[in-house]
């Protein structure tokens, strides 16, 4: 193992690369048991590779994707599984005994029927796939759990990632649960909640001056130097990304084994949207749901909307941007799956749109006030874009629609703090309460008037 000094701030405990855990170099794929996964294939040129620790095509740099040889899979088999993502293990690149291996157990999050919100928006049927109940309160627990299972099977003994926060939380927690070390790299200006919620698990946390794209670059270079570290979204990416399919499986199962007509997904790198679409396609091809056309919509913040811009321009290449938005979990200016988001959205008849920060905050509040769901900024983006699409006639208000709430608003409190003026304290007197309620002291009374 080479050791490149990390030039950033570390929290305790100081991470020391382990020399006690074999093996070191990238493991051989020959012994890997990854369920029904059969190969890695390049999404660009189609070149195929053995299952192993490779994420980019040697021929064209295209991203590699897991291929499967799937046996017949029944609804009953899935329904008999555990109440977490491992009920879909036969559709994931994980060992058969994954459910009994130390890992987090994300998934089976609620699909909430949002009738109050639908009424406000003039929609017939709206659902919120609410990812807050996952172990570290975002959908990232799904992808990390799959990445961890695959990485351990491939022989890695360190879990790592560059992150906008949620992924760092998930990696640090999963590694702790599995009893292995973790290294997480985050932008130094990240929300304090997300930094602390990673550090608490005892990871080696590195704050990097710059944005997520800068962190990503450093992680990619580190992955080349530390080939026995599993950077979940870099060198283990083909396996990691498959975890997002479980959102799509669950939506279908929760709807009684059928698909919605429309779905709106936040777009950062774009992998979640692409994998949800893949999941819907797999379920249909396996005969587990009736074949149905689902229009897939992507949502970005106006301060970081390279995919929306490419969509509007009719391009199939995504031009990077420098992000400037409160939606930090979506602030990826150079989205790796952007071209595939365009493919999916255009194929399904959807749209990619963006919304500005003030509408993002307003939408976070609207979801909270109508459905009791306090989502993070990404859902503010998703709902704000949904409202724009409705206003523009680009999304059908009469068609059953699902939106994704990918994380917890408690991690991004700063985003709403300025929009929620709170009344000054009162003394414990009935008269003061009455004055407050009457609006003498501004806004606080209006909520209960």
């Amino acid at each position: 193992m080479t050791s490149t000094p990390m030039t950033s701030t570390a929290t305790t405990p100081v991470f020391t690369p382990s020399r006690t855990v074999p093996p070191a170099r990238v493991p051989s794929p020959s012994g890997a048991r990854l369920g029904n996964a059969s190969a890695l294939a390049c999404r660009e040129c189609g070149a195929t590779y053995q299952l192993g620790a490779q994420h980019a095509c040697s021929e064209c740099f295209g991203p590699l994707e897991v291929r499967y040889d799937l046996p017949p899979i029944s609804r009953e088999l899935i329904e008999a599984g555990p109440r977490n993502i491992w009920r879909y293990a036969s559709l994931l690149p994980v060992p058969p005994e994954v459910a009994a291996t130390p890992n987090t157990e994300p998934g089976c999050t609620p699909l909430v029927r949002a009738d109050n919100l639908a009424r406000v928006l003039g929609m017939r049927c709206l659902w919120v796939k609410d990812e807050r109940p996952n172990p570290t309160h975002s959908f990232k627990d799904r992808v990390v759990a799959v990445a961890l299972a695959a990485a351990v099977e491939l022989g890695y003994r360190v879990l790592a990632c560059p992150s906008t926060g949620n992924l760092a939380n998930a990696v640090a927690a999963a590694a702790a649960r599995a009893g292995i070390k973790s290294v997480v790299l985050v932008p130094a200006n990240l929300e304090p909640q997300k930094i602390l919620a990673s550090a608490v698990y005892g990871c080696f946390l590195v704050k990097v001056d710059g944005g997520y794209d800068d962190v990503n670059r450093l992680a990619s270079e580190l992955a080349d130097e530390h080939e026995d570290w599993a950077f979940v979204n870099v060198n283990v990416r083909p396996y990691y990304a498959e975890g997002s399919k479980t959102i799509g499986y669950e939506i279908a199962e929760d709807l009684g084994w059928r698909l919605p007509r429309q779905i709106v997904v936040p777009v950062a790198s774009g992998a979640q949207l692409v994998k949800i679409d893949k999941a819907f396609g797999e379920l249909a091809s396996l005969g587990l749901v009736p074949d149905a056309d689902v229009r897939v919509y992507g949502a970005q913040a106006s301060g970081c909307a390279p995919v929306a811009a490419a969509f509007a321009a009719g391009d199939d290449v995504v031009q990077p941007v420098r992000p400037d938005t409160i939606a930090k979990s979506l602030a990826i200016g150079n989205p790796a799956d952007g071209p595939y988001v365009l493919d999916v959205v255009r194929r399904t008849g959807g749209w990619v749109a963006d919304a500005p920060d003030d509408e993002i905050v307003d939408s976070i509040r609207l979801l909270a006030a109508t459905e009791g769901i306090f989502g993070e900024t990404a859902v503010g983006v998703t709902l704000a874009v949904l409202r724009r699409l409705l206003a523009a006639g680009q999304l059908d208000p009469a068609a059953e629609t699902v939106i994704i709430n990918s994380g917890d608003g408690l991690k991004t409190l700063d985003a709403v703090a300025g929009a929620l003026p709170l009344a000054a304290p009162i003394r414990p007197r009935l008269a003061e309460f009455a004055r407050l309620r009457a609006g003498v002291n501004h806004d606080a009374g209006s909520a209960i008037a």
Binding site: P63, D224, A268, A271, P320, A336, D337
Partner: protein, 91 residues
């Protein structure tokens, strides 16, 4: 003074396993041509048939993504590092 170029693992078969090589400064296009002269075939892995950067490759000159600068015409001054990196998923 030459410029150091960081080579990703997937391209190190061209450089005999070297993680970093040096070439002469110039535009990025000239740097890639210099790479290809020293390590024949490597340019075809970085550029597509039209001679553009492949869409899943990120190239940095110093700290700047060249797509946010002048692309292949981005100047690479002497001593400034060049990094070639496959695209990465979200975080």
């Amino acid at each position: 003074m030459s410029v150091p170029v960081r080579i990703p693992t997937v391209l190190r078969t061209f450089t005999g396993g070297a993680a970093e090589v040096t070439v002469e400064p110039g535009t990025l296009s000239e740097v890639i041509a210099g790479l290809d002269a020293a390590y024949p075939g490597i340019a075809a892995r970085i550029l597509d048939d039209a001679g553009k950067l492949r869409r899943f490759i990120n190239v940095y000159v110093g700290d700047t993504d060249v797509r946010l600068a002048d692309g292949l015409q981005t100047q690479v001054p002497p001593g400034t590092s060049v990094s070639v990196i496959p695209a990465v998923a979200g975080g």
